[in-house]
Symmetry: C2
Subunit: 373 residues, 2 copies
Amino acid sequence: MNSDASQPATLSYEQAGVNYDLIDPLKIAAQRAAAATAVHLGAHGFSEIQASRGESAYVVDVGPFYLASIVECLGSKSLVADEMQQLTGKSYYAGIAQDTIAMAINDLITVGATPLVVQAYWAAGGSDWFGDAQRAQALVAGWKQACDDCGVAWGGGETPALAGIVEAGRIDLAASCTGLVNPKERLSVGDKLAAGDAIVLLASSGIHANGLSLARKLVERLPQGYLTRLEDGSTYGEALLAPTLLYSPVTEALYQAGIIPHYCSNITGHGWRKLLRHPAQLTYRIHTLPPVPPVLRFIQQQARQDDREAYSTLNMGAGFALFVPAADAQRTVQVAQSLGVAATLAGSLEAGPKQLLVEPLGIRFSDEDLQLR
Amino acid sequence: MNSDASQPATLSYEQAGVNYDLIDPLKIAAQRAAAATAVHLGAHGFSEIQASRGESAYVVDVGPFYLASIVECLGSKSLVADEMQQLTGKSYYAGIAQDTIAMAINDLITVGATPLVVQAYWAAGGSDWFGDAQRAQALVAGWKQACDDCGVAWGGGETPALAGIVEAGRIDLAASCTGLVNPKERLSVGDKLAAGDAIVLLASSGIHANGLSLARKLVERLPQGYLTRLEDGSTYGEALLAPTLLYSPVTEALYQAGIIPHYCSNITGHGWRKLLRHPAQLTYRIHTLPPVPPVLRFIQQQARQDDREAYSTLNMGAGFALFVPAADAQRTVQVAQSLGVAATLAGSLEAGPKQLLVEPLGIRFSDEDLQLR
């Protein structure tokens, strides 16, 4: 669009290398095939929670409680850790471990599940990846710490060396997580979502583990690269590597406080469009914005994104959305903040067409902006 | 050892590129850290089955039944599918999908669990991987068929495009699986394993998904490569790509027939040494060998492996071992065969030092040959 080198063009997520048009037909075929397998649960006397199809975790009714499970991928954040290790000599893999677990746990809890067991999937480009003892120990220590923080058992996992599939010197990280919705009343797949509900946004620590393709692409535009200083004095690379916050301590504490969200949305890819995740026809009106982490403001500026593009790509300070009865809104904020997680009573739901109105910025997202399910 | 080009040297698994000495320190550190997280289950009123630590699946007591979970990787078998697609124009990804699911399900069932939900982890080297519609549809169709064959629900999954981590044109495939041991009496973590138990070996279809690094390395020695004809007329590539058998229909049918194995071992890496997986001090005496699939005999010959090396690396016709009460042995064979899975009453356990005696071949494996746990 703009070929003036002194004014680099806007950089969208698609330009950063992820082409959803190629992936989506496969996803749709896979979703259809997957849905057709639910019938098998009947042979065991169980059944799926159909509303969990298309949600962040899959839920099965096994009688006394619901069983929830998921597998999630870190994505490309480890490439930033690798670059920063070259530049600083430090290993950032303790934080990367937390990111990976957060990707799984923050999805699993959206349905109201208590995470119980995490399994590690660490697929390296070769056996030698594990030979860097400092990095390997950081990965182990960070993984354990994140399990401790979330009160989950680390069940085991896989550490394959996949030369020829995973690039030499790299690692493909993922986590699977299994949990229970117990008691069953905790199920939060959105059937109770209604006009009047409050929207509470839990703060993010930064970019978390989504939007990294864009963030890495931007480095090419920065003379100091990952060592570019942000306004708060941190380097771009360090700021990107702030670990994703783990939100299960908040959802567990909410239940202890007697608060059961009607719905939750983990804000990952597609930024604030994820607030529109649930299929219900409702208008989501935002009146108060959470503070934007400096690294996200920096990315927005460097990528020449307007607010609409930025909020549709990045979390912009909101890592997780809780949709709670209005009467519980203030207490939800307090419970989160008592655990050190900043929270914003950001808006509410009302009757109306399916849309998200971010009033302070004059932005509207409609259903067409989010074809995820 | 042997530099005469007309007599290529023996090719061991380590020479084929996997160096366990680099991976093992990490695995040990990870296992210790993981074990220390089990305490968290107590806060939810649950507890781990400690005997499942080091087993193929992790088991938690959640009250009315046991919860089992796992994540497993395909490994490098997809590289053979990619080469064969180049040579023949066909896609082999339906079989590859079955292989991936088999890696997870055949491990999960070892503890006595009924698999309920599978999650797909398909991490491609770029969005374009999914643009090959024939291949993508084969992956979806094969994944669904394997779920149907095992009676599990396909819950969902992840299809990330990981350029820079996964090699261009390649895909890193894994599956997570969650199941229940229900009723609890089905738990088979080996506490009842005893002298007198029979060893029933379920047939493999070929190499399954272990030993592929070696199998791929051998191609360099074959003038016709993957198109080399085996004695049964199939090509080496096609024979390697025979999908891993799914054994959960057998374990489910055994339970229906009133047979509860004392222990099970999924024979994957380390070949028959996996029969020694359980820590009990017992002697495993094999008197009858299952037939060796032609592709495994071919690999053994081409790699100039003696029987000891071959049986310590490859499954040599035994894909899954069931350790059952002697009185149930014949019926176990019959149940498997009624489902089309060949089975061999291969031997029995007796009091004595921990060792595996493969009498027809005069081979002995001791505990030192298997330091897996």
